[in-house]
Symmetry: C2
Amino acid sequence: MTLLLSNEEIDSMLDVSMVLDAVEKSQRAMASAEALSSPRVDTLAPTVTGEASATYSLKSMSGLWPEAGVAALRINSDVLVWPTVAGNVRRDRLPSSTGRWTGMLILYSMATGEPLMISPDGYISRLRVGATNGLAARYLARTDARVMALLGTGWQAGGQLMAHCAVRPIETVKVFSPNPANREKFCRELQSRVKAKLIDVDSAQAAVEDADIVVTATNSMEPVHRKEWLRPGVHYSAVKVQEMDQPFLDAVDRVFMFSKNPLTTRPQTVKLDSVITPEADGGWWQNRQGQSWDRLQELPNLFIGKAQGRENDRQTTAFVNNVGQGLQFCAVAKRVYDEACARKLGRELPTEWFTQDVHP
Amino acid sequence: MTLLLSNEEIDSMLDVSMVLDAVEKSQRAMASAEALSSPRVDTLAPTVTGEASATYSLKSMSGLWPEAGVAALRINSDVLVWPTVAGNVRRDRLPSSTGRWTGMLILYSMATGEPLMISPDGYISRLRVGATNGLAARYLARTDARVMALLGTGWQAGGQLMAHCAVRPIETVKVFSPNPANREKFCRELQSRVKAKLIDVDSAQAAVEDADIVVTATNSMEPVHRKEWLRPGVHYSAVKVQEMDQPFLDAVDRVFMFSKNPLTTRPQTVKLDSVITPEADGGWWQNRQGQSWDRLQELPNLFIGKAQGRENDRQTTAFVNNVGQGLQFCAVAKRVYDEACARKLGRELPTEWFTQDVHP
């Protein structure tokens, strides 16, 4: 049988500590050349949705984890637009499937090839991003970090909140995003998920001023972290490369990325000429040489003792979550699958629907 | 609703002429930069199946066809071994899912992003390969070709048979493969699919000696077509690059490949160091320069008049089907989907199973 799960079922059993554990174990395997992630492939072409022009994007990435006996493929089929909101260009996916988005995950058995589980990717994705930044904090932030600043109140911000509160004794989280209604809603909806007290503040400055950990989880394509915010002992964390610029990173004592491997970090993008994406090449992370690049270290090497992290309570540290990896989905999906089997959750579909008695 | 189809349902409605038409139209679009195929991604790692060591492979490729409003992703999750059979190394996929193989296709709407159809890939794959070689014959073989030689009697051979008989007035097909039982079985099972008479012959030489079209559809990793077989006016066709070597191709008057684009023809392969595959780099098709390479032309350019094909009935022509493309699956799946909707075939699954109300 192939298990079909919903986001609600996943949410009911997936604790952030399970995700932290799954991501850490699988990334240790990857750092030891015992697990792998594929390059991500993005294909883009012009489309028409309703009566409006947009860009269609089909994206996939996969990961294999032999020790756990599983592989996974994550697929996103999106209708994209790049509107300018408050002077900033942002990337939006339209909920064009009658108000919904199309993103799924297939977990395969490496022993039989067959699909073990099919699920949406949203909840798993949020927590694997959160857990990755959370693991950076587990290895890099001061152990007595009690105040967290969170800039951004979208979907990813929730994952960041849960993961950071799970790895450090956070008592207060100061939450900022430009729209007061979004901040208020975020604090109201997420308060029950963590023990720390969520406080809605009205400027980024107010959020960061006495924080021990500063986390950004925004849609911005402009840098968010500022050099003038740097204070001794603080850990800075970003969900994507655009949020931190080179001058900021140069001023931080120890800087980590998720991966520097061009294979996994440079997506294979194929697009028709008629597609113009504002998120073209460029930015400091494209310049893979020089002193600034050399001092960047890879997070998984910290897990296996191949990189040096924080040495004292005065150093500043930073983590840039620069890439999504198929292996993250593979590891978290395996945990979800085991848990769902144990709890007898999900809908059983005949595996024969997805297999065949011939091979091409 | 998302339509779930079986191979039997696909077989009941998919005629080779529909596939020829779909592949030709979509490849015209591709040659005109109005459709695209992604790079294929192969990920390999060691696995254990039952108690035996093998290699697990997760492979995916995608295609987008804006004019038809659809995109498709084809996924194969295989357990591979490379046994030596009769002195030749061959690549086998094990039917490790209780006697079955895992290969599927998802067709997406470019207007909404949602999955329109899920199906196995076997029947569609056979006919898209067959149709691609068939189109080469439609454009390159003599119009009076009446005798066909078919070397190979496996799954792909059936597709080659149907496609070539659809594009030329073939009256006789001489079938050879090393195992007499396989030849006999092939002729018995496939005879009803074509008007031409299938004749089981006991040597490759006997098959090719008076053929107007010579087609190979083998598992061989060694060249099959021979320079000494070349006769004026004959069209030679291969389902993969290994079947034709450079000396053979150099002696043919006009040679076509499916694609010379490194983006689609060089798979992105990621594998753990512990995986050793006999099908490593090498072979003439890896040498992308020099006179031999320059004289190779791309088949889709023939469809749009950008390449010169046969000029007279004395020339020899050859086609090497060097790559599988996501766009082939996209185009054929769209035809299957339209036909299934018209005939009300297939099982309707709720699209909400594969979509979500959040986006990561």
